[in-house]
């Protein structure tokens, strides 16, 4: 079975965000980019599924030349081939999903993994959009997955619990932390990844649906008050929460 895994290349979560001079994007200077943390769970699950059911794993990433580092990381973990869809559509999830779905269709992948969200634009919908465009079933925010034949039983995280979802292939699964423990790339894997081909092609263009007007920093909170340094401050804290903040 052909398995696709879609990965994004995002600023490290420790990054301090500085707004760029266009006031619409971040200033990339001094920013370290990494594989999107949730996508590591997606790659791991794709590899585990391949080990169990056989087949081939193709890694697809949409973005710029630098995304190759992230593709290379997934190849080093054990994916078979990589595709870079060159474009700069990242801020429009509908356009991103359109380009990804065209490539998945071309690859003939029946099972597709995504991370549940990218930690940059935090939309948490690219997997679902892609699934619907492909006409595939979709289970998002998955923390447990079983595939038997074409049947899928997945557990997804919801508020205060989990839903057990039954569906079937072809399908898109979006991975949540807890689904698995991503493996480290071995030295052998890293060496092998250098020889694997990353195919480059332009992303399919389609109508954009969004216009970003402005990016800004959230209003700074006023510096707070340290009320005390031991339990004698507790009574005052409770009074402030009750009378000033009115939250208890």
């Amino acid at each position: 079975m052909k398995i696709a895994v879609c990965v994004s290349h995002v600023p490290d979560t420790a990054t301090k965000i500085v707004i760029g001079s266009d006031s619409k994007t971040i200033d990339p200077n001094g920013v370290t980019y990494i594989i999107n943390p949730y996508d590591e769970f997606a790659v791991e699950e794709a590899l585990k599924t391949k080990e169990k059911l056989g087949g081939e794993v193709v890694v697809i990433s949409l973005g710029k030349e630098a995304n190759k580092e992230t593709i290379r990381k997934a190849l080093a973990m054990g994916a078979d081939q990589g595709v870079l869809l060159k474009d700069d559509l990242q801020r429009d999830p509908v356009a991103v999903a359109k380009a990804l779905s065209e490539e998945i269709k071309a690859q003939g992948a029946e099972l597709v993994f995504f991370g549940k969200q990218s930690v940059d634009y935090d939309n948490s919908i690219t997997g679902q959009l892609t699934a619907e465009m492909l006409g595939y079933n979709c289970v998002s925010v998955v923390v447990d997955l079983k595939i038997e034949g074409s049947k899928i039983i997945a557990e997804r995280e919801i508020e205060g619990g989990r839903e057990v979802v039954e569906t079937s292939l072809p399908a898109v699964i979006t991975a949540q932390k807890g689904l698995n423990e991503p493996r480290y790339a071995s030295l052998k894997g890293i060496m092998a990844a250098k020889k694997k081909v990353i195919e480059e092609k332009p992303a399919q263009q389609s109508g954009k649906t969004l216009e970003i007007l402005k990016m800004k920093k959230p209003a700074m909170k006023q510096p707070g008050r340290i009320i005390g340094t031991d339990k004698t401050a507790v009574a005052e804290l409770v009074r402030l929460l009750k009378e000033e903040a009115k939250v208890i």
């Binding site: 919908i125 959009l129 205060g160 839903e163 970003i212 007007l213 990016m215 009320i227 031991d230 804290l237």
Partner: protein, 322 residues
């Protein structure tokens, strides 16, 4: 053009979620600013008191009803909502940014060839156009954006939009029995975390970090949370150490939260954690290290020993709660 807004009413176990009522109220506000009509759609089997959404200004609710729709089914729910939006020629759809809303809204988006903005924290109307504001990078920045396609979908962050004043009206509910819903994807079981409130929905969160020193000390956090009727949260460090489940993690690779009150206990405040909780209305920090970054975002702080302060705080709150 029908100039219509549809707001989706989410139910769990037959009870409407509070976040859906916030969304309904915002839909009414939006409709009034745009001079649109507004109505609501609900899906389930037995949903309590759908008429009550009249209090939020909704006049009409269409309720798609079937035993097999009591639990969520993404394929069936998406088909019903999008078919209804097509039938009524609605241009704008609102959902809550919940586990269900995040799963459902994108499927509807594709079926309607709409544009979509997720997790909005404000919607402003000016000259008939909607500008949405949404956090990105887990709240380290905000983006203002508009949807350029004819059909527009917005999901709204829970706990952010004020419900405000309520009217004394009842909505007119039309139930439609659904024959043969599309159950390609269906929930066969819901496993509840025992008696716990989820951080994504809670109005008060008590979160613990590495300052608690060991997993067995987390009972101090749990006791305070119980006393306040709050959810228990955790920092990434203690989740990665295996002390607490990931579902409790607050921060950039956990949940972004906006409660009324966030009490951070023994959390120093890594940038990823601050990103996830700094939009809380009030923040209390209890931490030994007075230079910890958490105090930079806290409204009130106690720079002391949590093992001494926390039990005292629980006792004091018990007193006022009687």
């Amino acid at each position: 053009m029908a100039n219509k807004i549809i707001t989706f009413l989410e139910q769990r176990n037959g009870i409407l979620k509070k976040s859906s009522l916030e969304t309904a109220k915002e839909a009414v506000k939006l409709a009034s600013a745009l001079n649109y009509e507004v109505e609501a759609v609900a899906i389930g089997n037995n949903v309590e008191d759908l008429e009550s959404v009249g209090k939020y200004g909704i006049g009409k609710v269409t309720f798609f009803k079937s035993e097999s729709l009591a639990n969520y089914s993404s394929s069936a729910y998406a088909a019903l909502v999008s078919d209804y939006a097509k039938t009524t020629d609605a241009d704008i759809l609102l959902f809550s940014n919940t586990a269900m809303g995040k799963d459902l809204a994108p499927l509807v988006c594709v079926k309607l060839a709409a544009g979509i903005l997720m997790d909005c924290v404000s919607l402003e109307v000016s000259s008939g156009e909607i500008t949405a504001t949404r956090p990105v990078f887990a709240g380290k920045a905000l983006v203002e954006a508009k949807i350029t396609s004819q059909k527009k979908i917005f999901t709204l962050r829970p706990n952010v939009f004020n419900i405000g004043e309520l009217a004394d009206n009842k909505a007119e509910v039309t139930a439609k029995n659904v024959e043969n819903p599309d159950l390609r994807t269906k929930v066969v079981e819901v496993k509840k975390s025992e008696g716990k409130l989820d951080v994504a929905e809670a109005e008060i969160i008590v979160s613990g970090g590495r300052g608690l020193k060991a997993p067995e000390n987390f009972h101090l956090v749990e006791e305070l949370a119980d006393t306040l009727g709050a959810a228990v949260g955790a920092s990434r460090a203690v989740v990665d150490a295996g002390w607490r489940p990931h579902s409790e993690q607050v921060g950039q690779t956990g949940k972004t939260v906006s409660p009324n009150l966030y009490i951070a206990v023994g959390i120093s405040g890594a940038i990823q954690h601050l990103a996830g909780m700094s939009s809380s209305k009030y923040i209390v920090a209890i931490n030994k290290d007075k230079d910890a970054p958490i105090f930079g975002v806290a409204d009130y702080g106690i720079a002391g020993d949590i093992f001494e302060v926390l039990p005292a705080l629980t006792e004091e709150i018990k007193k006022i709660k009687g």
